[in-house]
Each structure stands twice: as structure tokens, then as C-alpha cells.
Amino acid sequence: MSAVFSALESSRNGLSVYKTWLDAIADNIANVNTVRPAGEDAFAARYVVAEAVDYGGAAAPGIGNGARVQRVAFGSDEGRLVYSPGHPYADAEGMIRVPDIDMNEQMTSMIVAQRSYQANVSVVERARAAYEAALRIGSR
């Protein structure tokens, strides 16, 4: 039955990828001010690695089943050393480690993820309308 609804399956998988990406961006933005002592690792940005799902069914060998999250990659945990002598985590030189997350990059990624999620929802709506039109063939 899933072969009948392969467009819906592809969009479902795509929606899961973009939802995971939005979750990762939310995590990055939430931790943008997470301070660590200078001797420890900073918060590493999360990146979602997607890959194409290609089941290669007999009906349509070239068409896959959308995308899926292959894994989550981590950015650099190097961070940036900031001089802040009054901070409780400050070391003898008054340095603390803050995450090196680019807020501009995160916000643009968030817009891309959100719009892509909406695009997949549009595909679901179009596929549904197409299937319903096919079901109306020959009806009285």
C-alpha cells in the first residue's frame, strides 16, 4: 500500500528531517550563551546530516523515498576565550570559554528549515488532492 502513497512517504520522511534540523537549531540557539570554564570544552554546535532514502522499488526504480537523518555532527568545541574576571567560572587570568556559534548562520538556517518544512507540507496537500481527484474518476 505504501507504493500507492510514495509521495506521502517521501514528504513524511522529509518533514522528519526538517523537524530534526529545527530541533538542532533550537538547541544551538538555546546554548549560545552557555559558559564553561576556560579549561573545559565549549558547547559544540549541532549539525544534522541528511541522506537520501533510495529503496528503489520495482514500480519506480529511480525514485527514492525522501530523506532521512543519517547522523548528527558536532561543530568545534574550541569556543572562544572571553575576558570576564567577575564571572564565577573565570580562571586566574579572568578568562571564560563561550560557544563559537554564529547567530546569523543559525537564524538563516532556521528560516531555510522552516520554509522547507512548509514546502513538504505543501507536497502532502498536493499529493492528497491528486489522489482524491484520481478517486473521483468515473464516480457519479
Binding site: 500500500m1 500507492v4 502513497f5 506521502l8 523537524k19 492528497r128 468515473g138 464516480s139
Partner: protein
């Protein structure tokens, strides 16, 4: 859900109807033996698929109610698939009943 009970009842009815058919007496020319997958198997298979789709949608609906649903789109797409599959099954049934009634109205 009620749909599962209905599809289960239809599936068992179709199964029993199909098993009853071969015992019917044939007169005159030998009726051609049904070869391979017939309409009955197709209908039963489609109803089993439909039951599976409704089962998936139902379990996701339960997850949504209990707050265990991780992805909203998982439920809405499963519900859409179940709805479309139901419409397809009903359309096939309507066509089959229509054909059956046309045959029953034949006059010689």
C-alpha cells in the same frame, strides 16, 4: 476502532464466499478454473492493508492523546493515508457492487 471490526468482518465474509464458490455445481461446459490471484485475494489484501493503515493511525492518535507523540506530522500523514485508502477501498467496492447488480439485472 470500529473500522477494524468492519473491515475484519468484510474480509472474513469475502474469504468464506470465495471458499464456498468452488463447490458450486457446474453444468454444461466446464467453467474455467480461476488462475492465480483472483478478485477475492485482491480485496482481502487491500482490506488487510487498510486495517494496517488504520491501526498505525490509531496508535499514533493514542500517542497524541497521551503526549507521547514526537512528530505531529507522523499522525496527520498516517491519518491522511488511512483516509485515502478507505476512500479507495470504498470506490473499488462500489464498482464491484455496481458490476454485480448489472449482471443480476440481465434478462434473456
Amino acid at each position: 476502532m470500529a473500522v477494524e471490526a468492519i473491515t475484519g468482518a468484510i474480509a472474513s465474509a469475502v474469504r468464506s464466499a470465495g471458499t464456498a464458490l468452488p463447490s458450486l455445481p457446474t453444468t454444461g461446459a466446464q467453467a474455467a478454473a480461476p488462475s492465480g490471484e483472483g478478485f477475492r485475494d485482491m480485496v482481502v489484501g487491500a482490506l488487510d492493508d487498510l486495517q494496517g493503515l488504520h491501526g498505525t493511525a490509531d496508535s499514533l492518535a493514542v500517542q497524541a492523546a497521551t503526549g507521547d507523540l514526537a512528530d505531529v506530522h507522523e499522525y496527520t500523514i498516517a491519518a491522511t493515508q488511512a483516509e485515502l485508502a478507505t476512500q479507495l477501498t470504498v470506490a473499488v467496492r462500489d464498482k464491484a457492487v455496481e458490476a454485480f447488480n448489472d449482471i443480476m439485472r440481465m434478462q434473456f
